[in-house]
C-alpha cells in the first residue's frame, strides 16, 4: 500500500529540530526501516515527519574512558564494520549482522532501534545486558537513562515528549555472546540471547520472549549450567507467538543459554 500524506521537514541542527518535534502529530524519522513500513501499511499516520537524517553530530562513534559512545544515527552496517565497536563492545558487533538484511542495515540506525523498542529487536537486549546509558536531549536539558529503566514495555520507552535520543554509551566488555534462533537469516528472532561477563559476573538478556528484553538474573548467577537451566524458569515466562508455544520458547531459550554458557564462564 501507499503511505497516507504527511508533511516533511528536515532540520539541519538539533536546535531546529526541537520546535518541529513539539508540533502536534509530529514523529521523528531516523533510518525509517520500521517507520516507513508502518506508514505504507497505514498502521501509523503522523501529520509531520521530522527527518533527523541531516544531524551529522549524531553520526559519530567515539571511544571514551571505559567504553564507547555511539550516535543515534549510526547505521547497523556501520556498527557491523566499525573496528572501535569490535574492540570495545564486541557484543554489538556480533549482534548487527543478525538484523534484517544488508539493504536494511545500510539505512536502519542504532537510535531508531532503541527508540522503537521492538521486543524482537537485537540492540535493546544488548543495551540491557551491557547496562548501557541512553542519552536523551530536549530543548532544555540532557537526560541520561540506564537501559534497565529505559525499556518500559511493548514499543514503550522512557522518552518524553520533546526529547530526542541522541546517543548511547556502552561500557567496554570483552567477553560476550550473541545468539539468536530464526527460521531464515534476517527474520525476527524466535528467541535471542545477548550476554556479557566480566569480573563482577554474567549479565544475560533474552529477547523475543516478552514485551521487552528480560534480564535472566537467577540463571546468570548460577554456579553451573545445570543450575542455570533450572533457574531460567524463574527468569522467563515467554508469551507464545503465532508459531511457537510458550514451552517451546522456554526450551529454546535454554538451548541458547547452554550454547553461550562456556563462553561466558571462562576465567577472567
Amino acid at each position: 500500500m501507499k503511505a497516507p500524506s504527511f508533511a516533511y521537514a528536515k532540520p539541519r541542527s538539533l536546535e531546529e529540530a526541537f520546535p518541529l518535534i513539539e508540533r502536534p502529530g509530529a514523529r521523528i524519522l531516523a533510518g525509517g526501516q520500521s517507520l516507513i513500513p508502518s506508514l505504507n501499511m497505514r498502521l501509523s499516520a503522523p501529520q509531520l515527519l521530522v527527518d533527523i537524517g541531516g544531524l551529522s553530530r549524531l553520526r559519530d562513534i567515539s571511544p571514551q574512558p571505559g567504553g564507547l559512545r555511539i550516535g543515534a544515527l549510526v547505521t547497523h552496517a556501520e556498527i557491523e564494520r566499525s573496528l572501535d565497536v569490535k574492540f570495545h563492545v564486541p557484543l554489538l558487533a556480533a549482534a548487527a549482522p543478525h538484523i534484517a538484511h544488508p539493504a536494511i542495515r545500510n539505512r536502519g540506525t542504532l537510535g531508531g532501534s532503541l527508540a522503537l523498542a521492538d521486543p524482537a529487536a537485537e540492540y535493546p537486549a544488548c543495551a540491557l545486558a551491557l547496562n548501557a546509558t541512553l542519552i536523551l536531549q530536549s530543548r532544555k536539558a540532557e537526560r541520561r537513562v540506564s537501559a534497565a529503566s529505559f525499556f518500559k514495555g511493548l514499543f514503550e520507552t522512557d522518552i518524553r515528549p520533546g526529547e530526542i535520543l541522541v546517543a548511547a554509551e556502552f561500557p567496554k566488555v570483552e567477553r560476550s555472546a550473541f545468539l539468536e534462533l530464526t527460521r531464515r537469516h534476517g527474520d525476527y528472532a524466535i528467541v535471542g540471547l545477548a550476554g556479557v561477563a566480566d569480573a563482577s559476573g554474567k549479565r544475560i538478556a533474552f529477547f523475543s520472549v516478552d514485551s521487552k528484553p528480560v534480564l535472566a538474573k537467577h540463571a546468570a548467577g548460577a554456579k553451573s549450567l545445570e543450575e542455570a537451566m533450572k533457574l531460567l524458569r524463574q527468569d522467563l515466562s515467554p508469551a507464545a507467538d503465532l508459531y511457537n508455544t510458550s514451552a517451546t520458547k522456554l526450551h529454546l531459550a535454554g538451548v541458547l543459554l547452554s550454547r553461550a554458557w562456556n563462553t561466558l564462564s571462562k576465567p577472567h
Binding site: 503511505a3 504527511f6 508533511a7 528536515k10 524519522l29 516507513i36 538484511h101 537469516h185
Partner: protein, 155 residues
C-alpha cells in the same frame, strides 16, 4: 507543509530536479516520475527486496526510503548499471545458469549480488545465501541464482 518539496537527485549519472510529495517512496518516484521501471514494487514493506536500488553506493530498500530523503543523493538502478557495463558479468552468469523464472525479482537480485561481489569477491555459497536472504524469488529459483553468483565469486 504537506505540499510537494523540491529535490535534486543524480539518477544513473543524470541530475534530475523534481517537486515530490513527501509520501512518495523512492521506487515509485523512479518508476512513475522517471520511467525507470526496472526496479520493481513488490510488498512495499521491506520484506521482498524487489525494489533494491543503490543510494550513495550502498544498496537500500527503495520502498523504505522516501524520495525526498534522497535529495542530494546519487541513485543507481539496474538500468544505469546495465548501460555502464558494471553488471555485465553477473547478467551473463544469470543468463548462463538460467537464474530466473518469471524474472520479477531479477533486477533486485542482480543489485544485491553486485553489492556482495564488490564487498566479498570470493564469497562462498553460505555467504551468498546470507547476503541474498533479503531478496525473495517467489518462483523459488534460489538454487540457480546462488549457482550464478557463485560462478562469479568462485572465479
Amino acid at each position: 507543509m504537506e505540499h510537494a518539496l523540491e529535490a535534486t537527485l543524480t539518477v544513473n549519472g543524470t541530475k534530475v530536479t523534481r517537486r515530490i510529495a513527501p509520501r512518495m517512496h523512492l521506487v515509485d518516484f523512479l518508476r512513475d516520475e522517471l520511467g525507470l521501471t526496472g526496479s520493481h514494487v513488490g510488498c512495499e514493506h521491506g520484506v521482498c527486496g524487489a525494489c533494491t536500488v543503490r543510494v550513495n553506493g550502498e544498496i537500500v530498500r527503495g520502498c523504505l526510503m522516501l524520495a525526498v530523503q534522497a535529495d542530494g543523493c546519487t541513485v543507481d538502478t539496474i538500468e544505469g548499471l546495465s548501460d555502464s557495463g558494471e553488471m555485465k558479468k553477473l547478467q551473463e552468469a544469470f543468463h548462463q545458469h538460467n537464474a530466473f523464472q518469471c524474472g520479477f525479482c531479477t533486477p533486485a537480485m542482480l543489485m544485491a549480488a553486485l553489492d556482495l561481489v564488490k564487498k566479498n569477491p570470493t564469497a562462498d555459497r553460505e555467504a551468498i545465501r546470507a547476503h541474498m536472504s533479503g531478496n525473495y524469488c517467489r518462483c523459488t529459483g534460489y538454487q540457480a541464482i546462488v549457482d550464478a553468483i557463485e560462478s562469479v565469486t568462485g572465479k
